[in-house]
């Protein structure tokens, strides 16, 4: 339901950052480290800000599964995989090189990932810039990379995080972390992808800015692993006069990192070992792509891809990218390596240009990965019952990226750029997309208990929700609650309260199996299926109390009635007790037994004791007690003791 390419960049960060930058001292000597900037925080600094991706909308992970990946290095394991869309996953890896936080790597799945489950695919790695975020790659925030690759048969690998890291192994910890990105990517990620994520071990690596430098470093330092390397506005000379200082200033600016902790002082061997102009020999068997703009702002010109006017940092950084890339290309040609060079006659250091370069580099990437014509892009037709549905939904799901292929017992599926159409003889053809589609994928698609969709995506009467009905259930989505499947019987019982328009609202989670039954959370209550297959709902304060107790896992057990309204309040019966509620007393548990019976003999809540004011509790010295509005009933050594206030 969201399209990354359609997001408006949020400028809030930049404004704040420039404001902060304006108050930084500017008494800085030429060629000297910009020490004052080192105190700046990531979110409040200056000159690499225009390459920092804007905040993406907050998303709740929608699925978790635990694949086992064999033969990984000791200490490395896949912690979990989350489905973001049906074609995009987030892999969380426990790293031995960078222990502590899990490392997230996102992956855009190859076009035929679902239709050819036995196939392996080449990979395109896309590295981020200096201001890489911890939650999502700039490539998915700032470019249309997911849409661009939707019809291409490669897995796109997007490491997440590594602000200012150059994806390098750092000499020392800095800023509370010890970056060991190169070790992670090469020694841990590659076996992870090879063993668990259908890699055919042909790889391209590209990156923008810092990621361009890093792509070149990774390719040069591990040439047997990569078939293609692409630098989009990278810094390809890191040691000539002025460049170490510029990199130092940029790292201080992007998160307050100290270059000395990365590669040591500027004359250290590590700087040389990471200077792309010195590693050209290792690129002889590889396809090498280098691009940069000129540093000229072309915003507003008819052919420009720019989305806004350039700022001084965007100009200065692109000048450095271009000059160092030019130096690199000259050295490469001297060494007999002929890079594919796209030096644009204009353009600055900004995402719209890198999105453009991504598309320009693609045919060369496809050549290097030896992709067949079919794997390079769309070659599909839409027919039969799927055709009219696809045509009707084309504004949402886009053009086809596969032909139809069999799914489920007797059905078919066809994938489109932003969704899929499912067909079976009993259900007809329906288009799915967005989060509901991702959830359907995560649950297992047509082979799962949901079966095939029986409708397309529809809007709820309140305008806030979207839903799709399936053979054996439904999936409901809103922006705040995300997409959740509801089994058919529980859906029908929810219907007795008026569905999302009733007191329960929308589902907020999947149905959880408890002691042979199921409990599904909604905004204001739950719907329950007992182990015997009966349905009930709980709502409001009684549902909150039931939830607080752990629902059916509590000794109360499953509900045996829905909520019943009574004079002054409400109550609900469960297997082993009731929950009573009134506005003045709140919701409280009373278990069946002698106290309950004694209270019942006094006409329950309508009698002299009134409503319970606390949950049924144990007395530490032995026995049980329930406090009521007008008294207390205890059971001690089997004897009931009633005390009115």
């Amino acid at each position: 339901m969201r399209d990354t390419a359609s997001r408006s960049p949020q400028r809030r960060h930049r404004n704040r950052a420039w404001l902060a930058a304006a108050v930084l001292p500017t008494t800085l000597a030429l060629g000297v480290s910009l020490a004052p900037a080192a105190t700046a925080q990531s979110s409040g600094s200056s000159f690499s800000d225009q390459i920092r991706p804007s905040d993406p909308p907050q998303r709740t992970p929608i699925s978790t599964e635990y694949p086992s990946v064999d033969n990984l290095p000791a200490g490395v394991e896949v912690d979990r995989v989350e489905w973001i869309t049906d074609r995009r996953i987030a892999i969380f890896i426990k790293s031995a090189a960078m222990p502590g936080e899990l490392i997230q790597v996102q992956m855009l799945l190859a076009r035929d990932w679902h239709s050819s489950p036995d196939r392996d695919f080449p990979e395109v790695w896309a590295l981020d810039g200096l201001r890489a975020r911890e939650d999502e790659s700039g490539w998915t925030i700032e470019t249309n990379i997911a849409q661009f690759y939707a019809d291409k048969n490669v897995n796109v690998i997007l490491p997440v995080g590594g602000e200012s890291s150059f994806y390098s192994d750092w000499q020392r910890p800095d800023n509370g972390k010890h970056y060991m990105w190169e070790s992670f990517l090469i020694n841990e990620l590659i076996p992870t992808l090879d063993n668990g994520f259908r890699s055919n071990q042909k790889r391209a690596v590209v990156g923008l800015s810092m990621g361009g430098t890093a792509a070149m470093n990774l390719a040069q330092r591990h040439p047997h692993i990569f078939d293609f390397v692409g630098s989009f506005s990278g810094y390809l000379d890191t040691t000539s006069t002025g460049m170490p200082a510029a990199i130092k200033a940029a790292q201080a600016d992007a998160g307050g990192y100290n270059s000395d902790n990365m590669w040591g002082p500027p004359n250290h061997q590590d700087w040389i070992d990471h200077d792309p102009k010195y590693g050209i020999e290792n690129l002889k068997d590889m396809s090498v792509y280098v691009s940069a703009g000129s540093g000229t702002d072309d915003f507003g010109r008819p052919e420009s891809v720019a989305t806004g006017p350039a700022n001084p940092a965007g100009i200065g950084l692109e000048v450095l990218s271009r000059m160092t890339s030019d130096t690199f290309v000259r050295k490469a040609r001297e060494a007999g390596v002929e890079p594919i060079v796209h030096f644009r006659p204009s353009g600055v250091h900004a995402w719209p240009y890198w999105q453009f370069e991504m598309s320009q580099a693609w045919p060369h990437i496809a050549n290097a990965l030896q992709l067949s014509e079919d794997d390079r892009g769309v070659d599909c037709t839409t027919g039969g019952a799927i055709a009219p549905v696809a045509a009707n939904a084309s504004g949402t799901i886009g053009g086809c990226v596969t032909n139809e292929y069999p799914v489920g017992d007797d059905g078919a599926r066809q994938d489109f750029r932003n969704g899929s159409v499912y067909w079976s003889p009993d259900t007809g053809a329906h288009a799915l997309f967005g989060r509901i589609h991702a959830r359907y994928q995560a649950v297992g698609g047509p082979s799962s208990w949901l079966g095939f969709p029986t409708t397309g995506e529809k809007t709820t009467p309140d305008g806030k929700g979207r839903y799709v009905h399936f053979e054996n259930g439904s999936i409901y989505w809103t922006v705040g609650t995300d997409a959740w499947e509801i089994p058919g019987d529980m859906f029908n019982y929810w219907g007795t309260t008026g569905w999302e328009g009733g007191p329960l609202g929308y589902p907020t989670g999947a149905a959880e199996e408890i002691n042979g039954g199921f409990v599904q959370p909604f905004q204001n209550g739950s719907v329950v299926r007992t182990p015997e297959g009966e349905n009930h709902w709980v709502r409001g304060a009684i549902a909150a109390k039931y939830g607080e107790l752990g629902t059916a896992a509590h000794e109360l057990g499953f509900p045996t009635s829905d909520e019943k309204l009574i004079r002054g309040g409400a109550f609900q019966e469960f297997q082993n007790g009731n929950i009573y509620w009134s506005a003045g007393t709140g919701a409280h548990v009373i278990k069946y037994g002698k106290i309950f019976d004694a209270w019942g003999a006094k006409r329950w809540e309508q009698g002299e004791f009134g409503y319970p004011t606390a949950d049924h509790a144990a007395i530490p010295a032995g026995g049980e007690v329930v406090e009521f509005q007008n008294g207390t009933i205890r059971e001690i050594f089997g004897r009931v003791q009633e005390d009115l206030n």
Partner: protein, 181 residues
Amino acid sequence: MRTPVTTGLIAATLIGALSLTACGGATVEDTGATATSVAPLDRAPRSTEASSEQSSEKEAEDADESAAASSSREPGPDRPAAPQPQDQGAREVDEVPAQEAARSPQDVDYLGALTDQDIDVAGVEDQLIGTATVVCNPEGTGIDQATVPAVAGQLVEQGRTDKSAEELTQLIVDNARQAYC
């Protein structure tokens, strides 16, 4: 080659916008009506919307195709116009076959002054002008402090001058200020 791709980008944005529109404009149907017996997609009320989506999508796809077609073509000469033979002597800047041609009088003054200092500016004119831009408008970011010495270092590395990077740094700053600030 760039124009169709630009169109492609616009088209991609258009698809995004349409998908959001389509989401908001989908048929509103009472859930009660579809609860037990599932109703077919009710297309009648949205026929106009649907047809306009289709035509937009067709345009978008056409644009996509042309973008794909152009990008799958092997690019022509990959070498940029920029790098010029390096063994030429100093020349008047207005003789340089500038790809974007139009240089302002300030540009001509600035590049001319650097050329007069025996700096070979051919092919890096835009980068030197960009450097001057940040010299005059650093906006307190320090970008000028980072850029100028590194640009000087690259001029040395590319063999465009016999001067030291320190000397060049000062020359660029002085001439940029004189021409633009």
